[in-house]
């Protein structure tokens, strides 16, 4: 959708200040960067991670006493969808060796490796197989495959990028397995960007000491997902995939081993019980919680379900207070809302501007600081631009790039973005883009060790759902590697655990009973019911017209 006449009117203000701003830029002057103290202040006041107002301490469970965003805390302190005492656990609907929760990259790799180990596998996933964050990843996947590189340097880059807060056995596993993962994908027939002799055409990325990013066009995640999903479909003798069948609760056995899960068929609203000797949590991230109202880059089903279910079973999490926001997500046109605009645009000299076409920040602050400054300008100073769909954004003056570096630079340096906007009638070499911070990645997640094991025997975790690999800051390309490394490890280790002989005792939901008792004792009022499975985008008007207050039986209408 091209800019509306009203927006075009506003763009004139940007154009009016541009010559003067360009002159300053040519003199090498920029809006002054913040001092360390000022950074602290803007972060603490406006960055969603730092603002204490919307954060709170959880009062129950393994992370009792830790502080989280309200939206996260509410789900950690939530009740089950089912009443544990009313569930008949004696009728088992599916019996299997390994139950994999989540059909993204991590779950799908785990399923393949478990079947390789001779196990019968069920993949239970929320949407279709492959509808996930994995399929959305564009940039690439890390792996120290070149001669000038090694797992040693991959380790260093990763832990340095994470401000040394990463869990070390996980970093070691990642760096060690990365080339093995890449070789595995190659042998499954993934098409990588290669030089004519077959060498990986790998590239640098933010925080890399070596060119370690391998890619498949600008749809690396999609290519990974397509290939491994296709491989699962070739193994129908061992792997069954249940789509639109999210897990809503883990099952333990009387000895405390993990023993399966309760699934819900979202289409018929029937529940089923899966008994499994091992379970892999690979349910991905939490972008769709829209922490503090932010738009997100994530897929429709990213609602933190795995972390919630594991929490009730006694598995805590780490780094979950930390969320990666990208300062420049698209705010207009609507079709692209939340999608990323690379830092390169600002690197090439584009200013970030308010509704009056004025600069209000140095354009290349660290990501978290930059995000906070945009939020302040729009929400507190009130100088954001409101779109026809009621979003708020700020200008990113991309036409400056043409003036500074010569005509044609935008198209040459930012081909994908150029096309993405051109398709909707916006020429970003002539018109500015409208941007706002967007919620990108769940840095934390459930606790596992380097073998993908949780503290519960038979329960494994992999992918965005686990915490510690990236510490408090993830490097690009490391999460696609994380899902293959730990997905494969989870599948392989689940298979060998089962081969070692696992005898399940009676199934129980006692952990849920116990957890809910804790909730009651802590006096938590009106806890959420979770996992929430899907976000609800009904408008206030629609909700009102649904007459929720006047209904005789609300449940009947669900």
């Amino acid at each position: 959708m091209a800019y509306t006449p009203e927006m075009k009117e506003l763009i004139k203000r940007v154009e009016a200040t541009r010559p003067e701003r360009l002159a300053r830029a040519r003199r090498g002057e920029n809006y002054p960067a913040l001092t360390m103290a000022e950074r602290e202040e803007v972060l603490s006041k406006y960055h969603p991670d730092y603002q204490s107002d919307a954060k709170r301490t959880v009062q129950v469970g393994p992370n009792k006493g830790d502080t989280f965003q309200e939206g996260v805390a509410r789900l950690l302190e939530s009740r089950s969808i089912v009443r544990p005492d009313k569930v008949n656990l004696s009728t088992v609907d599916f019996d299997t060796d390994v139950l994999v929760l989540g059909g993204g990259g991590a779950g799908t790799s785990a399923a393949i490796m478990a079947s390789q180990g001779g196990c019968r596998v069920i993949i239970a996933t929320k949407l279709r197989h492959g509808d996930s964050n994995t399929i959305m990843a564009e940039g690439g996947i890390q792996g120290a495959t070149q001669e000038c590189d090694s797992p040693y340097y991959h380790y260093l880059d990763t832990i340095g990028g994470g401000h040394f807060t990463n869990q070390r056995d996980l970093v070691a596993a990642l760096a060690h397995d990365a080339p093995l993962s890449i070789a595995w994908l190659e042998s499954l027939g993934m098409i990588f960007n290669k030089l004519p002799d077959g060498r990986m055409d790998s590239r640098h990325f933010g925080g890399s000491s070596r060119k370690r990013m391998q890619s498949a066009g600008d749809m690396t995640g999609a290519e990974i997902m397509r290939v491994i999903r296709d491989e699962v479909r070739n193994r129908s003798n061992l792997i069954t995939t249940l789509e639109f069948h999210p897990a809503v609760e883990l099952l333990l056995d009387e000895e405390g081993k993990c023993a399966g899960a309760i699934l819900m068929n979202m289409e018929t609203r029937e529940f089923s019980i899966v008994r499994a000797k091992a379970v892999v949590i690979a349910t991905g991230g939490f972008g769709r919680l829209h922490i503090k109202g932010f738009a997100t880059t994530n897929h429709y089903g990213a609602t933190m379900d795995g972390v919630v279910m594991a929490y009730r079973a006694g598995v805590g999490n780490k780094c979950l207070h930390s969320t990666q926001y990208h300062p420049t997500g698209v705010a207009y046109p609507e079709q692209n809302v939340g999608l990323l605009i690379t830092e390169k645009v600002r690197g090439l000299g584009a200013h970030v501007l308010n509704i009056d076409g004025e600069q209000f920040c140095f354009p290349l602050e660290p990501r978290d600081v930059e995000s906070a400054e945009l939020i302040r300008e729009a929400m507190d100073v009130g100088k954001g631009i409101i779109t026809p769909t009621g979003r708020v954004g700020l200008w990113l003056d991309s036409p400056m790039i043409e003036e500074l570096h010569g005509p044609g630079t935008v198209k040459k340096e930012l081909p994908a973005k150029f096309i993405q906007f051109e398709r909707h009638g916006i020429d970003i070499s002539k018109e500015p883009m409208l941007v706002y911070p967007t919620l990108h990645y769940q840095n934390g997640g459930i606790n596992v060790n380097g073998d993908s094991e949780t503290i519960i025997p038979g329960l494994y975790g992999a992918g965005e759902a686990i915490g510690g690999v990236h510490g408090e800051n993830r490097l690009m390309g490391n999460s696609l590697q994380d899902i293959i490394t730990f997905g494969r490890r989870a599948g392989r280790n689940a298979a060998s655990y089962i081969q070692g002989g696992v005898t399940l005792k009676g199934l129980t939901l006692d952990h849920v009973v116990k957890f809910e008792k804790e909730l009651a004792e802590a006096g938590i009022e009106d806890p959420a019911i979770a996992p929430i499975l899907l976000p609800d985008y009904a408008t206030e008007e629609v909700v009102e017209r649904r007459w929720t207050e006047a209904l005789t039986d609300r449940a009947a209408l669900r």
């Binding site: 279709r128 001669e147 970093v171 499954l188 790998s202 609507e334 079709q335 976000p535």
Partner: protein
């Protein structure tokens, strides 16, 4: 209710949060027909968000919401015009008097195979999908593709045994199934394309030799001690190693540069 708040100077801005659309003051609505039924929705929304604005909650028909998963194929036409259009609900903006329906699933035959055994010859693909030769080159598949993939082009290439060309032409396929829904020959184009791409990646595209060598080194345990040492370091020691890393120059070709420090390679 206390009205004291009205006197505060800062006006609260009502903005859309997350993916929930709102109708800001003064914004226009347009009529659209979802499966024949009229709804008034704000202009500039995508079909997906317009349907949510109208009160639908997706179960099927929404996945990535970013144009890459293929969950939301949609067929529409404009009032008074016979012409059918195809698009992704998450990428297509509503227009006044659009009649639309989603096709979230379309049945298509898929053949199982073993990637280890299939080999790089086109005959194997022909044997798995004999319906390939039912193609009458009507090109409806290409016209229906929301990703502008040359579907007929890759099907024709495969008929001629050109796997590389088929792999390249089909690379942007998101497997939404619109091609198959339009096909007179009842060909499952996107499954065949997937097979062709895997065969290409596995058997035709040259393998990365440096990768095979690295795998051997890792499996021989070459890096185990190094990684253990790193994990045992204090934060200060790690920081020192981190700061001392040499950076591969930007402009050298992959594989061309060697660092001064080679002990950890």
């Amino acid at each position: 209710m206390c009205d004291a708040d009205n006197t505060t100077t800062k006006k609260t801005i009502r903005v859309a949060t997350g993916d929930r659309a709102i109708l800001p003051e003064g914004a226009k609505t347009i009529p659209i027909y979802i499966m024949g039924k009229k709804y008034d929705v704000p202009e500039t929304l995508t079909i997906m968000k317009a349907m949510e604005f109208a009160g639908f909650k997706f179960l099927r028909g929404a996945g990535c919401r970013g144009g890459i998963c293929g969950a939301c194929p949609t067929v529409y036409r404009m009032a008074g015009d016979y012409k059918l259009h195809y698009g992704l609900a998450c990428q297509t903006v509503v227009e006044a008097n659009m009649y639309l329906a989603q096709i979230p699933f379309f049945p298509a035959n898929r053949a199982e195979y073993n990637i280890e055994e299939i080999g790089g010859a086109a005959e194997a693909i022909h044997a798995l999908y004999p319906e390939l030769f039912r193609c009458v080159a009507c090109n409806l598949c290409t016209k229906a593709c929301p990703m502008d993939v040359d579907v007929l082009g890759y099907i024709s290439a495969l008929k001629q045994g050109n796997i590389k060309k088929a792999a390249q032409l089909s690379f942007d396929c998101i497997q939404c199934g619109l091609c198959a829904s339009r096909c007179m020959g009842e060909i499952p184009q996107y499954h065949i394309a997937q097979l062709a791409r895997r065969v290409y990646g596995r058997y035709i595209q040259p393998r990365a030799e440096h990768l095979a060598k690295r795998v051997e080194e890792i499996e021989s345990g070459k890096y185990d001690a190094m990684l253990q040492d790193l994990s045992a370091m204090s934060k200060e020691e790690l920081e020192k190693c981190y700061v001392e890393r040499e950076r591969e120059p930007d402009m050298t070709a992959p594989g061309a540069w060697q660092p001064k420090e080679t002990r950890y390679l």
